[in-house]
């Protein structure tokens, strides 16, 4: 025990060293789940085992996975509760759709249009994140949560009064009324009716690329100098400030990157359906994304990936229960939450697992070898 404590002191903050080791594990598991899942589903689809219903959900699943991972950056890594993630998704979705319609006027190569639209969506969402982030990141805890909630709603209501369209080939916009002299087919965004006539370009492969990109950005940020600064502020704000970390700067960094990634995911979502209404991005959607994060484990990237996938598929698989579908979904959600976080049930499952699990020689409980390894590395 004493030896271990000494070691901790010697390496100056064991936590970061462990994080470095965890990074490789976390990254390996995350990428493996994403790529493995993709290959598995593609094979099953090709074999005709997966029905229309599940196939139709491939893109939304990827979008939700990406949203869960990006929200994890704020909730898990930066340690702030954000309830406005759907707002950034909305900004990305609508600006991405707008960009795709503008580009379609002069281009036909869809992959390029999709990439530019997604980058534009990410850019606009990051601007929204920046504007919102500046005044609110001085707030903490519940206050921040409530303000992000309000901003999410503001974004949605802003979309409700926004009109975009072409008049004689020129892009025009208006607030709260229709654009003068516009033809029905030239409308892009029509207030509460949302975006209609979007050319759908999203596919499962693009979804996978989005997920990989998001995981790559989030994991690398987490494992960078800035990421460690963000986490140290999360763990102890005063200690962080005392060693000269700019708290606002690092919090804003996490917030803006998260918003940009949400915008990108929102854009792919928008380009997967020929219509998109602002009401889709209400508070419920923000909470849904937060549920993915919480269920997967706050700060746990691959846990979020699995939770998002599962909770997207579940309501569809319960269709056979007809009227009791959402009730069943809620019950399963509660059960899963209890099973994952109730210590009693948890220890039962662990005990059960230990019986089944083949014993490894050097891998005792409590993560002792892991720490040893980390210590050696640092030394």
């Amino acid at each position: 025990m004493a030896e271990r404590i000494l070691k901790n002191i010697r390496i100056g903050g064991l936590k970061n060293a462990v994080k470095g080791n965890d990074y490789r594990k976390e990254a390996t598991i995350s990428y493996a789940i994403l790529i493995g899942g993709y290959i598995l589903l593609q094979v099953l689809s090709a074999a005709g085992i997966v029905g229309h219903n599940l196939q139709g959900q491939f893109v939304p699943i990827c979008v939700y996975v990406s949203l869960a991972v990006s929200l994890n950056l704020v909730v898990g890594i930066s340690g702030e509760l954000s309830l406005g993630h759907a707002g950034f998704m909305a900004v990305g979705a609508f600006s991405g759709i707008l960009m795709s319609r503008v580009l379609l006027q002069s281009m036909t190569f869809e992959p390029l249009i999709l990439i530019i639209s997604m980058l534009f969506g990410a850019f606009m969402a990051s601007i929204a994140g920046f504007i919102i982030g500046i005044p609110i990141l001085g707030l903490r805890g519940d206050y921040l949560a409530i303000v992000t909630l309000a901003f999410g709603e503001i974004i949605r209501n802003f979309m409700n009064v926004l009109y975009f369209g072409f008049v004689d080939g020129k892009l025009k916009f208006a607030f709260n009324h229709t654009i003068e002299g516009i033809e029905d087919t030239d409308r892009i965004i029509t207030g509460a009716i949302g975006a209609t006539g979007t050319k759908t370009m999203a596919s499962f492969t693009w979804g996978l690329l989005l997920c990989l990109f998001t995981v790559f950005i989030v994991l690398n940020l987490k494992n960078s100098k800035q990421g460690r600064a963000i986490m140290s502020i999360r763990d102890n704000r005063i200690a962080g400030e005392s060693i000269g970390l700019d708290v606002r700067k690092y919090k804003l960094m996490a917030f803006v990157v998260s918003a940009a990634l949400a915008g990108m995911a929102g854009c792919l979502f928008g380009l997967n359906y020929s219509t998109l209404v602002p009401v889709k991005f209400n508070f419920n959607t923000s909470v849904l994304i937060l549920v993915f994060v919480v269920l997967g484990g706050v700060g746990n990237i691959w846990g979020g990936i699995i939770a998002a996938t599962l909770l997207t598929i579940l309501p569809e698989t319960f269709r056979q229960f007809a009227d009791y579908r959402m009730l069943t979904y809620a019950i399963v959600l509660i059960l899963v939450m209890i099973c994952t976080y109730n210590p009693a049930i948890k220890s039962r499952i662990t005990a059960l697992w230990n019986k089944v699990k083949p014993k490894k020689k050097d891998n005792g409980p409590g993560g002792k070898p892991r720490k040893k390894k980390a210590g050696k590395e640092a030394a």
Binding site: I49, V50, G51, H52, N53, L54, Q55, G56, Q57, P60, N157, N160, V161, N176, T178, D184, T185, T190, G191, A192, I193, G194, T196, G197, Y273, S274, T275, L276, V277, V279, K280, G297, N300, G303, I306, A307, T309, L310, I313, L314, E316, T317, F318, R319, Q320, D323, R325, M326, V336, C339, T340, K346, I349, T350, W353, K357, N363, G366, G367, R370
Partner: protein, 389 residues
């Protein structure tokens, strides 16, 4: 380490469960060879718009039961409605589920936003689609296989504007509409266009949203101050009932004019129907119409579901019959693929097929663009009843 493993176990187990269920659902049952035409529909069976989805589900069921009872040896009809919560994403999922279950003709979706998303899929999959109530223009735009049985929202606005200009030449017209509802905003859009085109002024326009549809003091005061003596209300009946109550309290008594969404206001619980006296509404269907067809439908509906059918139920009833009649007229077999049935039905609907139903005062016909040609009627509420004008 312990923690991680527990999570892995739980997650893996739930994954497997979900996947097994999904796979079960994905298997799909193809046509069993009997003489049944499989109709599918998606609509909000849960959530705030559930009354519309359930009305369509029930109205369609009445038609299906009638058809199946009337020709036990002929073509039978199966009717499957899946919940979409009025959401585009869920609607596409629900539609895909119906496809897995072997649907041949799609009679949906109920709400516009969801319908536009699904219509793109039916167009790609070549499945015939006749929507009972999705009234946005974008539903049918650029899709040869999609037809509407209801009016388009802007058309309702145009017809309302024409009626008002003809019958109320001196009225100062104000509008209170829901700018967060595609239905309301769509009607207002058509209304304003027509008024502008004919050079008639709208003295005041006030909007509200779904989040704030109980207090209308501000909007009504604005109408009053602008001197409006005629207020156009292209809204559903719940906000309209609130507007009527609050206008009455303020002592403001202009002529109110609503669209088909106002139908149902007389059966609204807790609403003093005397306040609705003198309200005009333009609608293709009311349950109080006297003709035999409507009365038979209303009675059957009341018997089965214990409430008066609204327009959505009547639309669904008409849809099922229209598809059934066109299917018979086309002479296709029920064992044909969805794509073959689609081609045959498109040829029918675009080629002058007509149908006399509950929701029009004339025989409905369809344009190749998917729009329906039908005439609505204007009613006025007198003595607690809808009286045709």
């Amino acid at each position: 380490m312990k923690k991680t493993w527990t999570k892995v176990v739980v997650v893996a187990l739930s994954c497997m469960m979900a996947f097994v269920m999904a796979a079960c659902g994905g298997g799909g049952s193809s046509d069993s060879g009997d003489n049944t035409l499989k109709l599918g529909c998606t609509g909000p069976l849960t959530g705030p718009a559930a009354i519309y989805g359930n009305a369509v589900k029930n109205g369609g069921q009445i038609a299906v039961d009638e058809i199946n009872a009337a020709n036990p040896d002929g073509v039978q009809v199966a009717w499957q409605v899946e919940d979409d919560e009025a959401d585009g994403e869920k609607a596409v999922n629900a539609y895909n589920k119906l496809m897995d279950d072997g649907m041949q003709v799609f009679v949906g979706s109920v709400t516009s936003g969801a319908c536009v998303a699904v219509a793109e899929k039916t167009n790609a999959d070549r499945v015939f689609e006749l929507t009972p109530s999705a009234s946005q223009a974008a539903v049918t735009e650029g899709k040869d296989n999609v037809f509407q049985l209801c009016f388009r929202d802007p058309d309702q606005g145009t017809i309302s504007a024409d009626y008002i200009m003809e019958n109320f030449p001196d009225a100062k017209v104000g509008v209170i509409y829901n700018n967060a509802s595609d239905y309301s905003a769509g009607i207002f859009d058509g209304f304003k266009k027509e008024m502008d085109a004919k050079g008639r002024e709208i003295v005041a326009v006030e909007a509200f949203s779904d989040d704030a549809n109980t207090d209308f003091q501000a909007q009504l005061n604005s109408m009053k101050n602008a001197g409006a003596d005629f207020v156009f209300l292209p809204n559903y009946y719940t906000p309209v009932s609130n507007i009527l109550v609050q206008a009455d309290k303020m002592g403001y008594a202009p002529t109110f004019f609503g669209c088909d969404g106002v139908d149902g206001i007389l059966t609204l619980e807790g609403f003093d129907t005397s306040l609705a006296e003198g309200v005009y509404l333009l609608t293709p269907f009311t349950a109080s119409a006297e003709d035999e067809k409507t009365q038979n439908f209303v009675n059957a509906y009341k018997e089965a579901y214990g409430e008066e059918p609204n327009q959505f139920a009547a639309d669904a009833y008409d849809c099922v019959y229209a598809v059934y009649n066109a299917f018979n007229a086309a002479g296709v077999d029920t064992s044909a693929s969805a794509a073959d049935i689609c081609e045959a039905l498109v040829a029918q609907f675009a080629g002058g097929f007509s149908y006399e139903g509950l929701t029009a005062s004339n025989a409905m016909k369809w344009q190749a663009t998917g729009e329906v040609d039908k005439m609505p009627a204007v009613y006025i509420i007198e003595g607690g009843k809808y009286v045709e004008k």
